[in-house]
């Protein structure tokens, strides 16, 4: 783990240090009382040009990353769907302004469940929907599943692994069992759901894929569950 981090740092070293300098300059400008707003705006425009920096309006304040399947609440604040779902499960208020989150925002999100196209993607991960069909895992969860799956394939040759591990989705621990191909929330082991991995992006029609992570693809099939 540590090694891979180091190599990443080396790879992106130059752009990262530039980014840090940029941030430092910004924070310094904040200290000065005078034309601070102008300075910050200048810095912001510089930040937006850089590719590896997520623009402020697309950044999720919770995961500090690019918003995945962004959901805008009535108060105007935008988060990743899974991030704000985790907040709703605990506090039911906006993470930025503490305004109440209406239930319908989370239960029937607007149709943003189209899958994000990605280069070099070869597999799909799905979990069972409560009332039939499958939900595709969110991009980041899917990547984590694939990494675990791959390492299990390699390790299985020399040692017996039980094939279980924990992933965090919306801040809740889920146990994924590759031997049984099921997942369940750690505190609710009797509510397990089947999972499946498919090579290639699944074609529509065979078995119903409802959308991504509880967000339906089309508004017409939104009614049921997530």
């Amino acid at each position: 783990m540590a090694d891979s981090e180091n190599s990443k740092k080396g790879q992106y070293g130059d752009s990262k240090s530039l980014e840090e300098k940029e941030k430092k300059r910004k924070s310094e400008s904040l200290d000065k009382e005078g034309d601070r707003v102008v300075q910050v705006e200048k810095d912001l425009s510089k930040l937006k040009i850089k590719e590896d920096i997520v623009p402020f309006d697309m950044k999720c304040p919770i995961c500090q990353d690019k918003s995945r399947h962004p959901l805008t609440l009535p108060c105007g604040h935008t988060f990743c769907y899974l991030c704000i779902k985790g907040v709703y499960a605990r506090q039911k208020v906006c993470a930025l302004c503490r305004q109440a989150i209406p239930q319908h925002c989370i239960v029937s999100p607007p149709g943003t469940g189209e899958r994000e196209e990605e280069e070099g993607r070869k597999t799909c991960w799905y979990y069972e929907a409560k009332s039939g069909g499958w939900w595709e895992y969110e991009e980041r969860v899917r990547q984590e599943l694939e990494i675990h799956y791959q390492s299990l394939q390699i390790n299985n040759e020399d040692n017996q692994d039980d094939g279980q591990f924990v992933i965090y989705v919306s801040g809740f621990p889920y146990v994924v069992d590759f031997a049984k191909m099921i997942q369940y929330r750690q505190d609710k082991p009797n509510r397990s759901r089947r999972i499946k991995r498919e090579k290639g992006v699944a074609e529509e029609g065979e078995e119903l894929v409802r959308g991504v992570a509880g967000i339906p693809i089309a508004p017409s099939i939104r009614q049921d569950d997530n």
Binding site: K23, P61, I62, C63, Q64, L96, G171, P173
Partner: protein, 168 residues
């Protein structure tokens, strides 16, 4: 176990390269979720000139759940108890996942400047603070230990008076 989330990596990196003034947070070599923190006593507070060690731990649910923060240095403060546990709403029910390690530590530093004796954790300290707040404000230049001495002696004096009243 799950790897370190990207957010924690980002936060750590920023804490190291762009630190907050008067606050030093470094991750433990063995555990990237455990931070060794040193906070400088804020200016114009009774804690000015002092440095306070804290420990900060990011639970698995972070940022959905708040970090666990504790003072390692003994401190005489109405919202911090003998074991260093801190009574601060954002560390409990008012936590928001939009808060970060740096904002949490800034809030703790602010708590040192502005104690909240109406919501005490250490009742004895809160009482002393309420009755003698002017002392706390006057003693910008005096040492923290001196303050501690004044407060404790006042406290014991009040207790003594109460005891005396009970017996007479």
């Amino acid at each position: 176990m799950a790897g370190l989330p990207k957010r924690i990596l980002k936060e750590t990196q920023r804490l190291l390269t762009d630190p907050v003034q008067g606050i030093n947070a470094t991750p433990d070599e063995q555990n990237a979720r455990y931070f060794h923190v040193v906070v400088a006593g804020p200016k114009d507070s009774p804690f000015e000139g002092g440095t306070f060690k804290l420990e900060l731990f990011l639970p698995e649910e972070y940022p959905m759940a708040p970090p666990k923060v504790r003072f390692m240095t003994k401190i005489y403060h109405p919202n911090i108890d003998k074991l260093g546990r801190i009574c601060l709403d954002i560390l409990k029910d008012k936590w928001s996942p939009a808060l970060q390690i740096r904002t949490v530590l800034l809030s703790i530093q602010a708590l040192l400047s502005a104690p909240n004796p109406d919501d005490p954790l250490a009742n004895d300290v809160a009482d002393a603070w309420k009755t003698n707040e002017h002392l706390a404000i006057q003693t910008g230049e005096e040492s923290f230990l001196y303050m501690y001495f004044i407060f404790t002696s006042l406290l014991y004096f009040t207790r003594f008076c109460l005891l005396f009243n009970n017996f007479s």
